[in-house]
């Protein structure tokens, strides 16, 4: 049987024992993308979920990370610069008038 030690608590001051098998907050923050991608082993995922259910700090961190992803996703892609686009449309016109239209 594994024993988990949880030094973080929802409200009270930190408990005195060091974690043995549990994740620390410092370890958890490095696993967030793997967690979101479903890439953790079942064991690590369980440790992650358990920690999260007990830790306000990591719950907040996860929420920040999620918001970061959402805000990044809301960035609009830039427009293709005119110059590059003109050059490409020029190439297209060359293609339509060239000998490539054989099929």
């Amino acid at each position: 049987m594994r024993k988990f030690g949880w030094p973080w608590k929802r409200t009270s001051a930190p408990a005195a024992s060091a974690p043995e098998q549990g994740l620390t907050c410092q370890e958890l923050v490095e696993l967030v993308t793997a967690y979101f991608d479903g890439a953790l082993t079942p064991f690590d995922r369980a440790r992650f979920d358990t920690h999260l259910s007990l830790c306000d700090g990591c719950t907040r961190y996860l929420a920040q990370f999620r918001q970061t992803i959402q805000l990044t996703g809301a960035l609009r892609e830039d427009d293709v610069p005119e110059e590059a686009k003109e050059r490409l449309l020029g190439a297209f016109r060359g293609w339509t008038s060239g000998g490539d239209a054989t099929k």
Partner: protein
């Protein structure tokens, strides 16, 4: 911004029709495809060739390859897969990418760039709560939406992304802005699943940190 039909539902919706129109020499259809993919292509190329001008050339060359090969395209793979396959080939022959794969696992903590959250945010080793937050992260849920969507917030994210390594930037832009799957990103960038995840995590963590700094300073 013109709303693209691909924005909802199937991201490949309408591509067969676009290709049919391009085959009929419809310039507007070609322009639409350029709008959809050109910047992503430059970014992907940039992760291989370093300087922006060469990346732009690689993308241009890819479009020429696309037009030349158009009559042979049978639609078995998605247009995107095909297009970026051409791009990756050209970029690789022009590429100067050193071994920039990431031979470490952040999970094992031997990432040469160090942790993604500063060590001083946690109680140090030897402390009874070693590894636990020494100061709890801010609650962003409490921040009004208009602040999060403000131009300054966007500019903060933009400049954080601009400051990433080429490969980190390519990964976060393809995954989180262009909405690619991790598999697609691994294929086109020729990186492993683990590398992709480490690059993405590091990129996101840097953007998060930039946002935190900005939101605290402006709060």
């Amino acid at each position: 911004m013109s709303p693209s039909p691909s924005a909802q539902g199937d991201p490949h919706a309408g591509e067969a029709e676009l290709i049919a129109r391009i085959r009929q020499r419809d310039e507007g259809a070609f322009a639409e495809l350029v709008d959809r993919y050109h910047l992503q292509m430059v970014r992907v190329a940039q992760s291989f060739v370093r300087d922006h001008e060469t990346a732009e050339e690689v993308a241009q060359e890819t479009w020429l390859g696309f037009l030349k090969g158009l009559d042979r395209f049978e639609g078995r793979s998605s247009l995107k897969t095909w297009l970026f396959g051409i791009l990756a080939n050209i970029a690789r022959t022009r590429g100067v990418r050193e071994n920039r794969s990431v031979p470490f696992s952040a999970i094992q903590g031997d990432d040469p760039e160090g942790p993604t959250v500063a060590a001083d945010r946690f109680f140090p080793a030897g402390h009874p709560s070693a590894g636990a937050w020494s100061s709890i992260p801010d609650d962003w849920e409490a921040i009004p939406e208009h602040r999060l969507l403000a131009n300054e917030t966007r500019a903060t994210i933009d400049s954080a992304i601009a400051g990433l390594s080429d490969l980190q930037r390519a990964v976060i832009e393809l995954r989180d802005i262009a909405g690619w799957s991790s598999e697609e990103v691994c294929n086109v960038l020729s990186i492993s699943e683990t590398n992709q995840r480490v690059l993405l995590h590091r990129a996101r963590a840097k953007v998060r940190l930039a946002l935190e700094t900005y939101l605290r300073a402006s709060g």
